[in-house]
């Protein structure tokens, strides 16, 4: 009987710690940068939803394509109308895993470089993506940053010949989220 109670207590304790290991935010950011000799194009989105499961290493992102902001109004219009077709494909997502979660100690402040693999979906196309990210723990706060290149052709985003010199074939994407919520 005593042992039964002990086991029950153990289970509750387990469940308790497990429940505190999901971090999430609605205000993550994604920016991308296209660099060519003619023109540099940059866009930012600060309404990125992101969830990190500290126990399993799962990490997921979701973003509304139309909330990317450009310096030039016309670029933003073309991005939505012609390239990403945000009316037809409103969301872009990444669902993946941090493959080596044991490297990260959530209790100790520090920066941990980790490999990430998963599926990225945008413009109606899903592709495997492998990259590295950095998880930073500071005073119990968790944040994650990653930088990688995305080849536009991989996602059926075609650039007309006339503007081929203005838009890079691969754009640099920077993802960063400070997980301000946990449960």
């Amino acid at each position: 009987m005593k042992q039964g109670i002990l086991s029950a207590a153990f289970i509750i304790a387990m469940a308790g710690t497990a429940a505190a290991q999901k971090y999430y935010t609605k205000n993550g950011s994604i920016s991308f940068f296209s660099k060519t000799s003619l023109e540099n194009i940059k866009a930012d989105n600060n309404q990125v939803m992101s969830v990190l499961n500290a126990q399993t290493g799962e990490i997921q992102f979701s973003v509304l394509v139309k909330s990317f902001r450009f310096e030039k109004a016309l670029m933003e219009e073309h991005f939505n109308e012609n390239y990403l077709e945000s009316e037809k494909y409103p969301k872009a997502t990444f669902k993946g895993n941090i493959t080596d979660m044991s490297r990260v100690s959530f209790a100790t402040d520090g920066m941990y470089t980790v490999p990430v693999t998963g599926d990225m979906t945008m413009h109606g196309v899903t592709k495997k993506l492998s990259t590295t990210g950095t998880i930073t723990i500071k005073g119990g706060k968790v944040s994650a940053v990653s930088k990688f290149f995305v080849k536009l052709a991989d996602y059926n985003i075609s650039i007309p010949n006339l503007v081929k010199d203005n838009i890079a074939e691969s754009v640099e994407v920077t993802v960063s989220s400070s997980f301000d919520q946990k449960m």
């Binding site: 009987m1 042992q3 039964g4 002990l6 086991s7 153990f10 289970i11 387990m14 469940a15 497990a18 290991q21 999901k22 999430y24 609605k26 309404q47 939803m49 992101s50 969830v51 499961n53 126990q55 399993t56 799962e58 997921q60 979701s62 509304l64 902001r69 310096e71 030039k72 109004a73 016309l74 219009e77 073309h78 939505n80 109308e81 012609n82 077709e85 009316e87 037809k88 969301k91 669902k95 007309p160 006339l162 503007v163 203005n166 449960m183």
Partner: protein, 306 residues
């Protein structure tokens, strides 16, 4: 008995922690979709304005509901060649061209201003375009975009009869337009343009100084970057000048990065409101068709206002 309990306890513990782990994995996706729903809810409580109803601020001759964005300068060069029915001697009209140069500038998201000079009758024009409503969904639902465009035109041709007393005001023409436009789908947009034209001077005492016209126009995208456009202005009978016809134009928009090329066929020669709405003389069935183009090139000159 005690050991039995112990085994049950451990088994239970193992079972629960596995289900716990499985639930955990599912939770990550669930949590994300919960966040997505929350954001979708926020979206619904916000107003989403329809954008890119037309590719540029002109349909063919006349205005669309579109404004240039705040801080953006749009340089417009437009040509109308001669009539197609002038034959091969005039290379089907290409030997003759009338031209309009114009500058449009967006002051805010709601207000743009523009000036232009046409070689046709040496006319200057100036206008502003004010968006009154914008088509939107979400919190504030609006089925159409409504714009108001008043234009003043100054004809600077030499006086026809310099011997009579001529007034400066006789050179002026005023046009007021309401434009009611709706983007029905990604590719289809239609607009109505009730128009009022006032001319300070008319040729004959019997002619009216006022004119009312009803315009209709629209576009259908055929690819992401090309659309077919049509525009028609019907002059309400009783006000029209003798010998004038209704303006009908058909054309294409071709968008290439910062440029929009508009190629079209029209029975109107002039490129400001009072000329094409009230002084069109060509007849399509007779071949009085002018080939023409507009080129629009935008420059971001001011800081973007969010």
């Amino acid at each position: 008995m005690a050991s039995m309990k112990k085994i049950t306890g451990i088994a239970l513990c193992a079972l629960l922690s596995t289900t716990n782990l499985m639930a955990q994995q599912k939770d990550t996706t669930d949590l994300l979709s919960m966040l997505e729903k929350e954001v979708a809810g926020d979206e619904k409580s916000q107003t989403n304005y329809t954008t890119a109803t037309f590719k540029t601020t002109r349909l063919i001759n006349g205005h669309t509901v579109e404004n240039v964005a705040a801080g953006v300068l749009d340089v417009k060069i437009s040509h109308r060649f001669g009539r197609l029915n002038t034959g091969s001697y005039e290379l089907f009209g290409l030997d003759n061209a009338s031209m309009r140069m114009g500058l449009d500038y967006g002051i805010t998201r709601y207000l743009m201003v523009g000036i232009g000079r046409s070689t046709f009758e040496k006319t200057y024009d100036a206008y502003f375009k004010l968006k009154i409503f914008r088509q939107s969904t979400g919190k504030r639902k609006m089925p159409v975009t409504l714009s108001y465009v008043p234009t003043v035109a100054l004809k600077t041709l030499k006086w026809e009869d310099p011997n009579r007393k001529n007034y400066y005001t006789s050179r002026l023409y005023f046009t007021h337009q309401l434009i009611i436009g709706r983007k029905f789908s990604e590719g289809t947009s239609i607009q109505l343009m009730p128009t009022y034209v006032h001319r300070n001077l008319v040729k004959y005492a019997s002619e009216s100084n006022e004119l009312f016209a009803a315009g209709i126009g629209g576009r259908q995208k055929i690819t992401k970057r090309v659309s077919i456009n049509a525009e028609y202005y019907y002059q309400i009978p009783g006000y029209r000048l003798t010998g004038t016809t209704n303006s009908l134009s058909l054309g294409f928009d071709i968008e290439t990065g910062g440029h929009v090329f508009q190629l079209h066929f029209t029975n109107s020669r002039g490129m400001n409101e009072r000329t094409f709405v009230s002084e069109t003389t060509g007849l399509w069935e007779k071949g009085d068709i002018y080939f023409g183009f507009n080129i629009s090139r935008v420059f971001t000159v001011g800081k973007r206002r969010r």
